[in-house]
Symmetry: C2
């Protein structure tokens, strides 16, 4: 395999990048942006080597404790459980949550052999049992796997006497009712307030 | 800027990758494919360092002379002019051309300050003047800039007594006439055979 073919193969490992896009990317970098190719190489190497997981919440972090877990100003009574650092970042951008997080790094998926243990449920139960925690907010996705994960975790947490809530389901802000799917409308009706 | 943010910025330099895709790629590599991140870093570095241009046709090549230019079995009477190595690769995949190539690495675009000189027209005229060459096929894109490039090159080549042809314009194979744009139909009518 030539160096160019190797580059195209390596680019294809990026999510959402197939043969055509990978070719276009490789040609673009070689023809117009070799500096970009070099800086991407360095950034990838630095990220693969230096980014680990926060000891406490498991999110990506360059330090043993991530910026949020190390921040004493956050509300220690709230613990929000998310599937991934990307979901955590979305919640942070909403600027409406001031508690701590626990990042599962996955969701229950029996077909892929991902069970409760693989997503760090044991560590979550330990973390949620800390005296400061008064409420665990389950913010896993509203997909079949996310719902299953939330269900299993909610049972385990409630059996230990911990208060558990789930993000509200309803009509997205800015959407016209006409175009909202029926399942969402049904949930919005049931959860009306 | 954190290492993660640096990685996202670097990924955004890839064509077609915005903030959202770059985030998704970074999270994916860190969470599921660190090996992929490392191999992509190595492939990028190797490509940026080892891939240069063929002395003769200007396409990407790891060696002074590319595989096609070094192949004595090809038809030296034909010289096909393309805009980019990607276009050359498309022609090669069609398996219907056995001559040599000349890769412009660009097209005339006065607004961007790209003139005849920047796309290597001088080298093309020298190459086309070699005694073996009997016909130059202009295979630049059928866009405004590609057409302008073809027009300028055709004039220069013809004034030196070199036979110049252009790829046929017409209805794409497999398409229904109903959905073909009018300009293409008009060309297909004029060039009917």
């Amino acid at each position: 395999m030539s160096v160019l073919e190797q580059l195209i193969e390596a680019l294809k490992r990026l999510p959402g990048v197939g043969q055509k896009s990978a070719q276009r990317m490789a040609y673009h970098l070689l023809q117009h942006d070799r500096e970009g190719a070099r800086s991407l190489a360095l950034a990838l190497q630095a990220a693969a080597e230096q980014i680990g997981h926060c000891q406490r919440c498991h999110t990506f972090s360059e330090t043993p404790l991530c910026g949020i877990c190390a921040d004493p100003a956050r509300d220690a009574r709230l613990l929000c459980v998310v599937e991934s650092p990307a979901d955590q970042a979305a919640l942070e951008r909403s600027n409406s949550y001031k508690g701590y997080y626990f990042v599962l790094l996955g969701r229950i998926s029996p077909l892929d052999g991902v069970g409760v243990r693989q997503i760090g449920a044991t560590e979550l139960l330990q973390r949620a049992a800390e005296t400061a925690v008064e409420e665990v907010i389950l913010a896993t996705s509203f997909t079949a796997e996310g719902e299953a994960t939330a269900h299993v975790l909610a049972e385990a947490l409630r059996s230990r006497g911990i208060r558990v809530t789930r993000l509200a389901r309803g009509v997205p802000v800015g959407s016209e009712l006409e175009y909202v799917d029926l399942g969402t409308i049904a949930h919005a009706l049931v959860d009306r307030r």
